[in-house]
């Protein structure tokens, strides 16, 4: 069990850059190195975690922990991954607070901010691309993307209202469509 905990602490402290690198490290340790679950089981749990609200990787850690060691596994996997990561993030935020007024810190952040914006934009484009369907529905999807972008950029409409309205429109406009996205066709 100690080896199990160490693996999750390593995931929480050694993956930098967010989602993709964390997911990669989880797979490498849990599937390839320790062989606690099969690649197929990993993929199943990953698919299930996509249905969860909040941070998908936390749900994935919990599902894998449960599969490997039951409820104790859930506590160890989620706690092992998140607690050290939260401590590192809090320490970095505190450190930034003390050097925020230094010219070199301002310069570094001035360089990082546009890069972060670009990375976030790239991730948003990937999400929009993954969500699209094929056939006639792709036109509806494209209109939804453009409308949501315009509403949130140019108006003060609540994000939650946009999501709820999109869900209602989706049930009306797409209820006859078969699920034909690339992901569901796999």
């Amino acid at each position: 069990m100690r080896e199990f905990a160490n693996a999750w602490i390593a995931i929480g402290t050694q993956s930098v850059g967010g989602g993709t690198s964390t997911l990669f490290l989880i797979r490498r340790l849990v599937v390839e190195r320790h062989k606690w679950v099969t690649a197929r089981a990993f993929t199943e749990e990953r698919s299930l975690s996509q249905l969860s609200p909040g941070i998908h990787l936390v749900a994935l850690a919990g599902l894998l922990g449960n599969r490997i060691a039951g409820w104790r596994g859930v506590a160890i996997s989620v706690g092992g991954m998140m607690v050290p990561a939260a401590v590192v993030t809090a320490a970095m935020t505190a450190a930034y607070g003390t050097i925020a007024d230094q010219p070199i810190a301002r310069a570094a952040l001035a360089g990082m901010a546009p890069a972060t914006g670009g990375m976030t934009l790239a991730l948003a484009l990937v999400l929009a691309r993954e969500a699209r369907q094929h056939g006639r529905a792709v036109i509806v999807d494209a209109l939804f993307v453009i409308a949501a972008f315009a509403i949130l950029t140019f108006t003060r409409t609540s994000s939650i209202a946009v999501i709820v309205i999109a869900a209602l429109l989706g049930t009306v406009l797409l209820h006859r469509e078969r699920p034909t996205s690339e992901r569901s066709a796999e």
């Binding site: 402290t13 909040g54 990561a85 935020t93 914006g117 991730l123 939650i160």
Partner: protein
């Protein structure tokens, strides 16, 4: 001025209502920037620090 509990509840709500990915970002931005609790620049700074940090960054 918002209390620590108020800030916690805002982020809890935004995370619980978002289906992963960048889903929580517009909710967080709206709750923090539109209400004057933070500026857009501060949100971008927080994103940058979050990306530099280890583990899942929640986005």
């Amino acid at each position: 001025m918002i209390t620590e509990l108020g800030l916690f509840l805002i982020l809890l709500k935004d995370s619980a209502l978002a289906l992963g990915g960048l889903g929580s970002l517009p909710l967080i931005r709206q709750d923090l920037v539109a209400t004057g609790l933070a500026t857009d620049a501060q949100v971008v700074q927080a994103l940058a620090i979050g990306r530099l940090s280890t583990g899942p960054n929640g986005l």
